[in-house]
C-alpha cells in the first residue's frame, strides 16, 4: 500500500503547457476562487506562525465588514468610490492607456462638486434634484478636464501618460489644499463649511421614517451611480463602435491604424471618460459621505482602483465584486488597525490572484512516465 503510494510520485510527472484553446468562464472563476482560498490559507499560516489565531482574525474581519446590515452598509460606502475609480481604470487600461491619475481626477471631481455649493453656482435653497444633477455634471466635467490634460500632452507632444498623470495627482491634492486653506476655509480650519442638506446625496437612513430598518445605514445614492456606470461602461466597451475602437487599439494599435481608426482622438476621449468616472467618484464621496470639502478625502482610492481593475481582469461587472471585497478589507483595517492584518491579507490576495493568471494561460498536465 505504502509502496504503491510512493510510486505515484515517481511514476507521474506534472508539467505546465500553454493552453491552445480559450478558457471557459467557469474555469476562470474556479481558478480565481482557488487563488483566493489559497491566499487566505497562506495568511492563516503566517498568522499562526507569529502566534495569532487565524480563525479569530478571519471571523473578526468577516464580522467587521459583513457581520450585519449596518457594517455591510459601511462596506458598501467604501466600495462605491472603488467601483467608480475601478471602472475609470478599466476604461483606460482596456486601451493600454496607463492612467495612474485617477486619484487626482477623484480630487478634481470632488472640487467641482463642491464648487456648486461654495462658489456658489446654485443658491443654497435650490431643490435637491437640481443640486445633485448640477453636482454630477460638475464632478464629471472637472475629472474629465483633469484627464484631458495628460491625454492632450500625450497626443501633441508624446508625453508619457504614466508620469504626467501621476504628477497631476500631486497637483490636484495641492489644488484642493489651496482652496480649503485659503478660499473656502471655515473659521481658519482646513475645511469648508458643511454643505446644506439639500446638497447631500440621499442615504438609506434618510428614509428611516418610512422604513425603520434603514436607520443608521449610510449607503448613499452613489451606489446607484456606480451600478449604472458599470452597465454604461460595459455597453460602451462591448456594444458600441467606440468601445470596439478602444478594444482594437488596446490589443493592437498597428492594426487599428491600418483599419483607419484615429488613435490620437481616442486617446483624448478615453482619458476624458476615465477622468470623468474618477471625477464622479470624487463627487459621490464628497456629497454622499464627507459633505464638505476638506483634505485627505481619499485614502488612496485612485491607487486602489488600479488594483481593483486589474484583479477584475478589466471586466466591468467583476469590478463590483472586487470593490466590495476591497471595501470590506478597508473597513476591517480600521477595526483591527494595529495588527495590520487586513493589509497583509490584501497583499497576499493580490499576489496570489495575479500569479493565478499563469493557470489561465497554461494548463497542468499529469504525465505518466514511461516504464523502464
Amino acid at each position: 500500500m505504502s509502496k504503491s503510494n510512493s510510486n505515484i510520485f515517481t511514476r507521474y510527472r506534472i508539467t505546465f503547457e500553454p493552453r491552445l484553446t480559450e478558457i471557459k468562464w467557469w474555469q476562470s472563476l474556479f481558478i480565481s476562487v482557488s487563488a483566493l482560498v489559497f491566499a487566505l490559507i497562506i495568511g492563516a499560516i503566517i498568522l499562526k506562525v507569529v502566534g495569532g489565531d487565524p480563525w479569530r482574525a478571519y471571523t473578526h474581519i468577516a464580522k467587521a465588514s459583513f457581520g450585519d446590515i449596518g457594517v455591510f452598509s459601511d462596506t458598501m460606502v467604501k466600495a462605491i468610490p472603488l467601483m467608480l475609480v475601478g471602472l475609470a481604470s478599466v476604461v483606460a487600461f482596456k486601451m493600454k492607456l496607463w492612467n495612474i491619475g485617477t486619484e487626482g481626477q477623484f480630487y478634481l471631481g470632488a472640487f467641482g462638486a463642491s464648487m456648486v455649493v461654495l462658489l456658489p453656482i446654485l443658491p443654497e435653497d435650490s431643490p435637491q434634484w437640481l443640486f445633485i444633477m448640477v453636482m454630477v455634471i460638475f464632478g464629471i466635467t472637472f475629472g474629465a478636464m483633469w484627464g484631458f490634460i495628460p491625454g492632450y500632452l500625450k497626443v501633441k507632444y508624446n508625453v508619457n501618460e504614466i508620469i504626467s498623470t501621476l504628477m497631476m495627482n500631486y497637483i490636484a491634492v495641492k489644488w484642493n489644499d489651496f482652496f480649503i486653506y485659503a478660499v473656502w476655509s471655515e473659521g481658519g480650519f482646513q475645511y469648508s463649511k458643511v454643505f446644506p442638506k439639500n446638497a447631500w446625496l440621499p442615504r438609506l437612513t434618510d428614509y428611516s421614517q418610512y422604513i425603520p430598518e434603514l436607520r443608521g445605514l449610510t449607503t448613499h445614492m452613489g451606489l446607484i451611480f456606480a451600478l449604472v456606470a458599470v452597465v454604461i461602461v460595459w455597453f460602451i466597451l462591448y456594444r458600441s463602435r467606440w468601445g470596439y475602437e478602444i478594444r482594437l487599439i488596446g490589443d493592437n494599435p498597428k492594426a487599428a491604424n491600418y483599419a483607419g481608426i484615429k488613435i490620437k482622438k481616442n486617446i483624448i476621449y478615453v482619458m476624458m471618460l476615465s477622468g470623468g468616472l474618477a471625477g464622479l467618484a470624487g463627487m459621490s464621496e464628497i456629497t454622499g459621505v464627507v459633505h464638505r470639502l476638506q483634505g485627505a478625502i481619499s485614502p488612496g482610492y485612485g491607487y486602489t482602483g488600479i488594483i481593483v481593475a486589474w484583479l477584475a481582469k478589466l471586466n466591468p461587472f467583476l469590478v463590483v465584486i472586487v470593490s466590495i471585497l476591497f471595501g470590506a478589507l478597508i473597513l476591517a483595517g480600521r477595526e483591527i488597525q494595529p495588527s495590520g492584518v487586513p493589509k497583509l491579507i490584501q497583499g497576499i490576495i493580490l499576489v496570489s490572484l495575479i500569479a493565478s493568471d499563469y493557470l489561465v494561460r497554461n494548463r497542468i498536465r499529469v504525465i505518466r512516465k514511461i516504464e523502464g
Partner: protein, 522 residues
Amino acid sequence: MNLPAKNKESSPNVVEMKGITKEFPGVLAADHVDFSLRKGEIHALLGENGAGKSTLMNILTGLYKQDYGDIFVNGIRRVFSSPNQAIAAGIGMVHQHFMLVPTQTVTENVLLGLDEPKFHLNLKKYDLRIKQLGEQMGLPIEPTTKIWQLSVGEQQRVELIKMLYRGAEILILDEPTAVLAPSEIEAFFQTLRKMTEQGKSIIFITHKLHEVLQIADRLTIMRRGKVTASGVDPTGMAINDLAKLMVGREIAFEIHKKEVKPGQVVLTTTDLECLNDKGLPALRGINLHICAGEIVGLAGVAGNGQRELADVLTGLRKVTRGQIKVNGNDITNRDPKNIIENGVSHIPEDRHHVGSSPNLSITDNVIMKNYVKKPIAQGLTVNQKASEKYAANLRNTYEILSPSIHTPVRLLSGGNLQKVILAREISGQPGIMIAMQPTRGLDVGAIEGVQKLILKQQEEGAGILLVSEELEELLSLSDRIYVIFEGKIMGEVTDRDVDKIGMMMTGTPLDQINFTAGGNHV
C-alpha cells in the same frame, strides 16, 4: 555536390528517433515517427503547417517529451528533459525568430547564458575565438558589432555561431531562408555546405520545395503526424512529386488564370517619393498604374522599397513628393480611413502585427473595416447579431477552420489567419487591392487557396498590386510585372521574361537591357 552525397550513404547515424509518439489533446502530433540523420548530411524535413515537424524537433531538443519512442544520439539512448541537456549532447536549434539582444555585441550574445566567463568579462579573448570559429565555418562576422547594426542574414549567422560555440554537432534550422532575401540564400547554402564538410549534420525544416531539391542530401516528409517519405534521395524528384507527398493530393501548380480584359485605369502614381523608418529615401520617383481587372506584380529583392510603397498607397506612410490618384481622386497623404473609403484594400505583409488583432475574436477581426457601415453599425452601436452573422458567413465561405467565430485569432494557424484577413479585405468589394506577400510562410495547400482568391478578385474587376518575393508566384499570377530596385521602377515586363526581370532586380534598367538585347539580335 553529388560525390560527397554518395559518400554520406555509408556515414553513421548521428541521430535516430524510433517510434516517436506524442499526443496533444485531440491531436496525434507525432504518430510512431522514425527519423534518422547521418553524419555530415543536410536532411530536409518537409511538411505542411501542423504536420508534426515542429513537434518532432521540439522533442529532439528537449522542449517536449515524447509519450512513446526512443531517441539515440551517436548510438546512445538519450532522454532530454530540457533544451540544455540537448545542447550538452550536441544538438542545437536555430529558431525562425531570432533570440538575440539587440543592444549587445555579437560576442556578448554568443556568451549569454554560458558558465564561462565566470565573473570578469575578458571579451577580447572571446572576440578572437568567435571570429576564428566564424571564419572556420564560413560565417564571417565582426564580433564587436552590436546586433541591431546587423542585417537579418548576419543575425542568422550569429545564431548559428551561438550553437556552434556551444559545441553543437547537430544543427536544426527552422525555416532558415524565410527571413533571407533571395540574394542571401545562395550564400547561406554555401555556408551550410561548408559546415557539413566540417562534419556537422543539419536538419533543415522548410516549406520551399525548390530549396529542398537544391540543398538537401536526403529528405523526410511528414503529413498529419506521420512520415510519408523517409530519408529519400531527392535527386531526380520533381517539385510536383514532393508536393504530392506533403499534401496527399495533386497541387495545381498550373494556375488556371482566366483571360480578363483590363478596364479603366484605377490607380496611378506620379514621381512618388517617401522616406523609410530611418529617414532615408525609400522611394525615388515611382510611376506606375493599375487597371481594373488586372494583376500587376511588383518584383524585387526585399528591402528595395516594396513595403514603403504599400504603406504609402494605403495611407500608412507620408509621401514626401509626388501624387497618388485613385479613380481620378487625389488621395496623396490622406489618412487610412479616407483611402479605405476610396475602395483601396490592403493585405499587409505582417499579418500578425498589422493585419489582425490577436486577442480579439474572428468576428471582431472581420468587422475591422466595416464596423462603421450598416448593417454592422447600428447608430453608434455595433449590431451583435449582424456582425456575428457576417462573421459566420465569411467563416463558411472562406473555409476558415476554427472552433467558432468567437475564437481569438491568435489561436489560428497562419493559413487560417490569412484567410480571415483576405475574407475581410475581399468582402469590402474593393476596387483596388494592395497585396503584400500574401502567401509568405503558408503551406502549399493554403498558398493555393490564397492565390485562387486573388484571381477571383481579378475576375470580379479589381485592380490588384501583388508584391511578392516569390518570382514563380508573380509570373503565374500577374498580367504585368514591374521590377523595383532601390526605390525606382526599373521597367515593366509583360512577356514573363525571367532573364529580364533578373537583370532589373539587380539594378539594370529596362531600356539598357533592350539596347544590348537588340544589339545581339541584329
